[in-house]
């Protein structure tokens, strides 16, 4: 029988731990939240951001009105760069790009439409579209800007 060096075992365990840590907690509560978030996403977000979160073509460039088209939510987009607190605020309050030449909101506000728990559920669903590394980075960002108390 071959003996495996302790260092290799420790390394493998560390990798396993990191891989595991990069995934959202596999609790049933979290799974329920992801499922609810998916449904809310399909109802309120998919028409602009795409059924699979693929965004609008040309999302990186302003259109003729100076508006930024809805970005994708997957690894190629920038949603994962935002902390939980900021994502929550953007969905709740909306956001208008100051260089938008129209009066439209770039991202409409859903604070009157969705309950705090529903907004959090959508964000929890969006996290399933990211890579483990992106989830890890976003979790670090969220330490400084967590969900607000109303969504805890």
């Amino acid at each position: 029988m071959h003996s495996i060096p302790l260092g290799v075992v420790a390394g493998l365990l560390s990798v396993a731990a990191l891989t595991h840590a990069a995934k959202p907690p596999p609790s049933s509560a979290n799974q329920q939240r992801i499922g609810a978030g998916r449904l809310i996403y399909q109802q309120y977000c998919a028409s602009c951001h795409g059924a699979k979160g693929e965004g609008k073509p040309g999302w990186q460039q302003r259109d003729a009105q100076g508006e930024l088209p809805p970005p994708p939510h997957g690894p190629e987009g920038h949603t994962w760069k935002h902390a939980d607190g900021m994502l929550y605020r953007i969905i709740r309050d909306g956001w208008r790009d100051p260089f938008n030449k129209t009066k439209r909101q770039t991202m409409p506000a859903y604070g009157q439409t969705l309950a705090p728990g529903e907004i959090r559920a959508v964000i929890t669903y969006l996290k399933t579209l990211w890579t483990p590394e992106q989830r890890r980075i976003q979790r670090e960002e969220s330490r400084r800007q967590p969900f607000p108390p109303e969504a805890q």
């Binding site: 990186q60 460039q61 302003r62 930024l68 970005p71 920038h78 760069k81 935002h82 900021m86 953007i90 956001w95 208008r96 790009d97 100051p98 260089f99 980075i137 400084r144």
Partner: protein, 301 residues
């Protein structure tokens, strides 16, 4: 006899070839010498060129960097005190200087080959702050307008790195705009999804991104090389660009640019202070405006 004649002819040809070679070598040496002199002249002017200006609004201190020196002035550039640089700066050039927001007054310098250094005691001691950077080719550095510990560094060919612990650790945020960044500033201009904006002076105009790094966009139609950008701390939508064709200003966050009165044809460094004060470095000279660039005076020889 015939052999003798051939040998003499061959020797003559060899001698001619030798003279030709010597002549060419002399011309080559002359060209090299001339180039060396020109190079020396160029390096002299490069040595004195103001590469970065930074104004500390909290203390009223103006910082001025050349490739090999750092100085500070508390009287709008009338008198200067040298700030000691770390020993590594003897081997690599300074390209950027920035001071932290808040009360900590952490001063940073950076440069290609130098990496990032910080001092908390006005230059008496410097600490290298490169953990997480891929190499030391840092050509631009800026501090967050409001967050004391947040710093941004641009590494050529790699992208923009951010530290939120005063340079202790860095993390790649994005690759930056397609164009090469020469200088950049963090601005607290309203309207960002996150906490502010980054304005970059690039090899081809000004580029702008929210500090969430959600994408770099062209800021207006300013074309050509922009050496430096600055914004008015009292009115952050008012952005200035120092270029090889003088100064330009935008009143709407970089959408529209207009040429403004410039103290020199080429502006190499720029910074704005409260109450409409502007400082512009034009190679080795420093200029001051107290009226948002309407009039200029030379304050430093």
């Amino acid at each position: 006899m015939v052999d003798l004649i051939m040998t003499i002819k061959q020797r003559r040809q060899s001698l001619r070839s030798l003279w030709r070679l010597l002549g060419m070598a002399a011309v080559f040496v002359t060209i090299l010498a001339g180039h060396g002199l020109a190079g020396a002249a160029a390096s002299t002017s490069f040595k004195d060129r103001i590469v970065a200006l930074e104004f500390d609004s909290a203390t009223g201190t103006l910082l001025k960097a050349t490739a090999k020196t750092l100085s500070q002035s508390n009287d709008q550039g009338q008198t200067w005190t040298r700030v000691a640089l770390p020993p590594s700066a003897a081997k690599a050039d300074v390209a950027a200087v920035a001071i932290s927001a808040g009360d900590k007054r952490v001063l940073y310098i950076a440069g290609p080959g130098l990496g990032v250094f910080r001092t908390k005691d006005g230059g008496r001691s410097w600490t290298a702050a490169n953990q997480g950077l891929p190499n030391r080719r840092v050509v631009a550095l800026t501090t967050h307008a409001d967050q004391a510990d947040t710093v941004y560094a641009y590494v050529t060919g790699k992208g923009i790195f951010r530290s939120q612990d005063a340079g202790a650790r860095w993390r790649l945020m994005d690759r930056g705009p397609r164009e090469k960044i020469l200088h950049f500033v963090h601005s607290n201009m309203p309207g960002s999804m996150e906490t502010g904006w980054l304005f970059a002076a690039t090899s081809e105009g000004v580029r702008r991104s929210m500090d969430c790094f959600c994408g770099w966009h062209k800021a207006g139609e300013l074309v050509g090389k922009v050496e430096s950008v600055a914004y008015d701390p009292d009115e952050p939508q008012r952005v200035y660009a120092g270029t090889a064709k003088g100064l330009f200003v935008s009143a709407d966050g970089g959408e529209q640019w207009t040429s403004m009165k410039s103290p020199a044809s080429v502006i190499t460094a720029l910074t704005a202070a409260p109450s409409g004060v502007l400082y512009a470095g034009a190679n080795g000279s420093l200029f001051l405006s107290r009226d948002r660039g309407e009039t200029w005076e030379k304050v430093d020889a």
